[in-house]
């Protein structure tokens, strides 16, 4: 009688699969293997699950429903994803990319979520010559980075540009009766620090006066002291360079403490659909980072498709940017095929037609984009910089929090 041990067989099978999964012969018209490592668990999961992963899923579904990626010859190849969870650890992200490139032999890579993760995998992308289209990546030293890694394309401009857009907008409101006192709050990590240091300079240039400048560590639960201090000082502007949980907490506290400045600005998270769901009519007039042109039919259409296929709303900042990276990739593949070096050249040289309008890189960086948005009648609309087009006039002054 033969006795089998399924458990042992499964274990041996797993090891064998891991060891031997490497070189499979692939027929040419098979699917295009596209790999990515993303934070499905750990502290980065929130951002990755709102901004990045849904767009990858949307793109996969839509492309394959249309028959696949169109190649220069006109034939189509379906996309197959190979995805790993990096558990929000840099070392895991690096190893996942090594595995994708060397074991899974993927044709192309998509980037992870967040500045730190994109930096961690950048050398691996560069070594393999993969186009690196980063949409959730935001540091001041970008010009230096794209010189180091010429395969990297940055879809968000630098923190100083974001701040210039904000302070320029605030300067135009001076004539309309905006006073000159500013209260600043910022989260004490790279993102908050870069923004707040740029903001101090920009505020001085615009001739405003800083009356409060508080920082708090990431993950701070109780932000009431900061808001109480601001409420006592009654500034004309309250600007917070915050992350999603603090953005919600600061808004909630400001409402409770009756902090009613003429301009109320919070950063990441303001553009999330969650913000509107949580605050409803209270959101009216709140400014934040990002913003989109909601009257643009292509963005309307994108939001509708995102809703239908992924089952929830995209955010109104980096979601559209992330989707545009995939459009850029699709169009470049249509021109030059699945050839990494040719893709890098093509993306750097040409103009692309996306939901955000035409995208053309200047030294691998996308320069014109919306930086300040505002909740107006249930939508997060773009306000500045106005030279990009598609912006609306701000609601000013921000209406006092409705009592309720």
């Amino acid at each position: 009688m033969r006795i089998t041990h399924p458990s042992r067989r499964a274990v041996v099978g797993g090891i064998a699969a891991a060891a031997l999964a490497a070189p499979q012969v692939r027929a040419q018209p098979g699917p295009v293997k596209i790999g990515f490592s993303i934070s499905k668990t750990g502290p980065n999961a929130g951002g990755a699950n709102v901004t990045t992963l849904p767009n990858y899923q949307l793109w996969l579904k839509e492309t394959n429903d249309a028959g696949g990626l169109r190649l220069p010859g006109g034939q189509r190849r379906a996309i197959e994803f190979v995805e790993y969870d990096d558990r929000s650890q840099s070392e895991e992200a690096v190893r996942n990319i090594e595995r994708l490139v060397n074991q899974d032999k993927v044709d192309l890579l998509l980037p992870p979520w967040g500045t730190a993760m994109n930096l961690a995998v950048a050398p691996s992308f560069n070594r393999g010559g993969f186009p690196h289209l980063a949409s959730t990546f935001f540091v001041e030293r970008q010009p230096e980075l794209v010189k180091r890694w010429n395969n990297m394309f940055l879809f968000l401009d630098r923190p100083s540009t974001a701040i210039t857009a904000l302070t320029d907008l605030l300067a135009t409101l001076k004539d309309k009766g905006l006073g000159n006192t500013v209260a600043l709050a910022s989260v004490q990590d790279q993102f908050g620090l870069e923004l707040v240091s740029a903001a101090r300079a920009g505020i001085a240039r615009a001739g405003f006066q800083i009356v409060m400048d508080r920082q708090y560590p990431p993950g701070t639960q109780d932000l009431a002291p900061i808001i109480s201090e601001a409420a006592r000082l009654k500034p004309d502007m309250f600007l917070a360079f915050s992350y999603p949980p603090d953005t919600l907490a600061l808004t909630e506290q400001a409402r409770i403490a009756g902090l009613n400045p003429k301009v109320f600005y919070t950063a990441v998270g303001t553009a999330f659909p969650l913000y509107k769901q949580r605050f409803g009519a209270n959101a009216e007039g709140v400014m934040g980072i990002g913003g989109v042109d909601v009257t643009n039919p292509r963005i309307k259409d994108y939001i509708e498709r995102h809703n239908r296929i992924v089952g929830r709303e995209p955010d109104r900042w980096a979601s559209t940017t992330t989707y545009s990276t995939l459009q850029v990739l699709t169009q470049a593949i249509e021109r030059v095929g699945i050839d990494k070096a040719a893709l890098v050249r093509d993306i750097g040289a040409n103009s692309f037609d996306t939901i955000l309008g035409p995208i053309k890189f200047v030294d691998n960086q996308r320069v014109d984009q919306w930086w300040v948005g505002q909740w107006q009648q249930g939508e997060f609309v773009a306000l500045a910089p106005t030279k990009v087009g598609g912006t609306k006039a701000p609601i000013f002054p921000k209406p006092a929090w409705p009592t309720a």
Binding site: G14, I15, K40, R99, V139, Q188
Partner: protein, 316 residues
């Protein structure tokens, strides 16, 4: 030392000589896996140097690892690379001395909690100091060290930590630590200066951890406090060392190799249920291998030995 004493150091060097040429043949995927195995092998062995004999369970690995990574980030572009590693070791040693002198009076669960808090304390201090004086929290580490380079450095450090462990075990210090592990009060009454013994080994262990942090940092291009002082590192080191068995010098390595391989198989084949399967694997380990792989080997040896003796018995 007589001829028999040379066996262990020679075996360590021979094993290293066998492992050293691997980067010449292994592809970059296998290198990534090997670097991971070596990193945890050094950390777990260094952990067991102190925690094995004394039974003081330390969760401070991440604190020293992060210190090393930050040393590299601060000095990597300012000093010659070869100098950064000794400086990192020195910083690790100084901090460990301060920490050791002030805390090794604690024992049991208080010590565990303190060491866990230490990593968090260092992380918050670095964040605060960086924000206040550096005007930044994250740091770029643009230092070109290849994967092969990292592998060879880690292998070198592993040899050093094993040789150090071997020497400690044979020294008076090793006996003192064993005595402390058995019963600290008795050890003190027997005339052992327990504080000096504990601090000395704590410092040696922490120094190795700091150097590993400095070696690994260039691999990530960018570090911030949450990357450098990730508490997961402390927990994984603890689990690996316990699986292997902290009582023997080579024990932790026996835990690192299967667990690093298991992580890799789970991650590659079941990326979406990794954490659940990992939890199950830990339950199985704790239930079936409570005394570690070293324990299993000893048990196996006992069984074989007994069987041998039985067979040799002429009456049967």
């Amino acid at each position: 030392m007589n001829a028999k004493d040379w066996i262990v150091p020679l075996a360590i060097l021979a094993a290293a000589a066998v492992l050293a040429p691997l980067p010449l043949v292994a592809g970059s995927y296998w290198m990534a896996l090997l670097v991971n195995v070596l990193m945890y092998a050094v950390l777990a062995t260094a952990w067991a140097l102190f925690s094995g004999p004394t039974h003081y369970v330390s969760l401070a690995t991440a604190a020293f690892f992060g210190l090393g990574a930050y040393t590299m980030a601060f000095l990597g572009e300012k000093l010659p690379l070869a100098l950064v590693y000794p400086v990192a070791a020195l910083i690790g040693a100084v901090i460990a001395t301060i920490v050791g002198l002030s805390t090794l009076r604690l024992s049991g669960v208080y010590f565990v909690i303190f060491t866990f808090g230490l990593a968090e304390l260092v992380r918050q201090l670095v964040t605060w100091a960086e924000a206040k004086y550096g005007g930044t929290v994250g740091r770029f580490v643009f230092i070109d060290v290849t994967q092969q380079g990292i592998y060879w450095m880690l292998l070198g450090v592993l040899v050093l930590v094993l040789l150090t462990g071997f020497l400690i075990q044979r020294s008076r210090l090793g006996w003192a630590l064993k005595a402390i592990g058995e019963d600290e009060t008795v050890a003190r009454h027997a005339g052992i200066d327990t504080t000096v013994a504990k601090v000395a080994v704590f410092v040696i262990s922490a120094t190795f951890m700091t150097v590993v942090g400095a070696i690994m940092a260039p691999r990530w291009t960018y570090i911030d406090p949450s990357i450098a002082f990730n508490p997961i590192i402390s927990f994984q080191v603890l689990i690996m060392a316990l699986l292997g068995g902290a009582a023997r010098l080579y024990g932790p390595i026996l835990g690192v190799v299967p667990l690093a391989t298991l992580f890799e198989i789970l991650q590659a084949n079941f990326p979406n249920s990794f954490s659940i399967l990992l939890g199950l694997a830990f339950l199985v380990i704790v239930y079936f291998v409570p005394s570690g792989i070293v324990g299993l080997i000893d048990q196996g040896r006992d069984v074989l030995g007994r069987a041998g003796r039985r067979r040799a018995h002429p009456a049967e």
